[in-house]
Amino acid sequence: MKVSFWSKLPIRSKLLLLTLFSSVMGPLVIAASVILYEASTYRLENLQEVTVIANIVADRSTAALVFGDNNQLQENLASLQLRKTIALACMYDETDLVRASLILDESLNCPAAPVVHEGYYAEEYLHITQQVILDGEPIGKLLIQASLVELRRHLGNFALTALLVCLVTIVAILYVANVLQKRITDPLINLTETASRVAGEKNYELRAELESQDEIGKLVETFNDMLATIEEQNNHILKSNEELEKTVATRTSELLTANKELEAFSYSVSHDLRQPLRAIDGFSEAILEDYGDQLDEMGLSYLQRVRSASQRMGALIQSMLVLSRVTRHVIALKEVNLSESAEAVRQSLTDENPERQVQWSIEPGMVTKGDANLLNIALSNLLQNAWKYSSKEAQAEIRFGVDRSAVPPVFYVSDNGAGFDMKYADKLFVAFSRLHSPDEFEGSGIGLATVNRVINRHHGRIWVESTLNEGTTFYFTLDAEHNAAG
């Protein structure tokens, strides 16, 4: 509680309290110790003084006592009046009869039977009773009672003076400290305000005012240096940011233009190439039908090759059109039953090649969110791939399933076909790159690129595991919701 109070206190108040405390404590401690010392020594000194006075009076009174001169005794006692603290003085003869008395405090009286002692303090008074001795023989007694009023007044005056000194000190310190502390705290406050403004306004052009050459001045200088550095770096960052954004904008627009041009080019090329290709194939077929009997074996074979090459090219162009369609297609999300789609692909593949013996295994009820058209394209590409590369196996197996324990679920399509060396895996999804020659397996080199693009457009991931001559498994995830959310 106290600590938090102290920590919340402004530096100015802290400094003021510190100076006040240290400078007031000094006079206070000194005053207190002097008062204590005075109180203890005063009693002793007072006792000694009064004893000496009593001795003098007693000695002076010996003759008057033995010659019975009461007037002289009274005179001797009267001289005690000079000592203001003395309240009562009594001179007794040998028979304890009061021979002379000085009563300055009317509440006091000479006691009847004085007892000799060296002096003690009691009831606000110092009591002294001593014998009057002449030539070694006691001839009477002198009793003195001195009040402690003077001691009280003395100590009171002392305390008052100490208090006054403290007050004057406090006032003086408050004044001086206020003036001096302004010199210490003002630069600090100035610095704090500048720092707050810099933080609040993010204005790094501000500078703290340099008001002193001490540590605070150094702090202000360092702070200003720091601000300068920050300002410079900030400007630098802002500038490079601006440049970067400009560059990005330029590149983006360039890229967009290039992409559009490329798409337009590839579409028009594909589209425009189909027409002459159909003519080549169509007229080659016409030559075979109408003039086949006029050609020898060699001619027929060449013509057959022209046909198959133009058909392959047609398929290639068809694939490119699909790829560009996948790229430009606007995704429409809905529930898609992948199991059913796969079943349809299996049916058409089996119908096309009824002679093949393939063991199919399609997990039922695989439903996901996505674009039905695109997912169909991807799935048929993957299943056709598996069908194709397992074509040389006597006991071909094709499996399509899902691992629902993963998040998001991982779908897989596997076959026990030719497989490939994993070191070429990164080339697999790039368009026009093929791991097998057309002689081994037919293909355009565009299929997996198309699949890759479909999965990408569903914010999924696709990867492959394969062992040469043992089979290949494609894994993919779909995160279409992300797309919907995004």
Binding site: A63, V66, N70, E94, L134, D135
Partner: protein, 176 residues
């Protein structure tokens, strides 16, 4: 009133000096005897013989009225000296005296006695009227009904006797 009280006080002093069984009324001479004894306490003999003497000779000259009042003073110690009471037959015996009480009976030969006492450097005390003015050192006087004393400092100085200021303070008159 004061005189009566003073008498009682002196009586008590004497009581302590004399036998406890003493019950008679205090006479002037009893007071004077006490005075004699007390004077000694405030006197210094500056002459070497008197100053160094372990004895203090208190001499009574003439037909004295003290009867046996002084007897208890004999052998008492004052200023570390032993008091010897001596009753002189002849004034020429006074050379050893520290204190010389001159009785009223000797008033006729006072001049001779005083000149001898001057040589003896003795403290002369007497109740002869005008004793101090005639050259004696301490003379008893009666003021009202109170016995007091006068002092002649000139004579005291001549006899090389120092009297305490406390004593002078109490003197009825001091001749300087």
């Amino acid at each position: 009133m004061i005189g009566a009280r003073r008498l009682i006080i002196l009586n008590t002093i004497l009581l302590s000096l004399w036998s406890s069984g003493w019950a008679r009324a205090t006479t002037d001479y009893e007071i004077k005897a006490a005075y004699l004894y007390n004077f000694v306490k405030f006197v210094q003999w500056e002459r070497s013989a008197h100053a160094l003497s372990p004895e203090l000779n208190l001499c009574i000259l003439g037909r004295h009225p003290f009867r046996d009042v002084l007897a208890p003073l004999n052998q008492r110690k004052v200023q570390n000296r032993t008091i010897h009471i001596r009753y002189l037959d002849d004034e020429r015996q006074m050379m050893e005296c520290h204190v010389l009480f001159v009785s009223y009976s000797e008033r006729k030969q006072l001049d001779d006695i005083l000149s001898l006492a001057d040589q003896a450097k003795a403290l002369t005390v007497s109740d002869i009227r005008g004793f101090v003015r005639d050259g004696g050192i301490i003379g008893f006087v009666t003021v009202g009904n109170v016995i007091r004393f006068e002092v002649n400092l000139v004579s005291a100085r001549a006899s090389e006797i120092h009297l305490s200021s406390k004593l002078l303070e109490l003197a009825e008159e001091v001749v300087k």
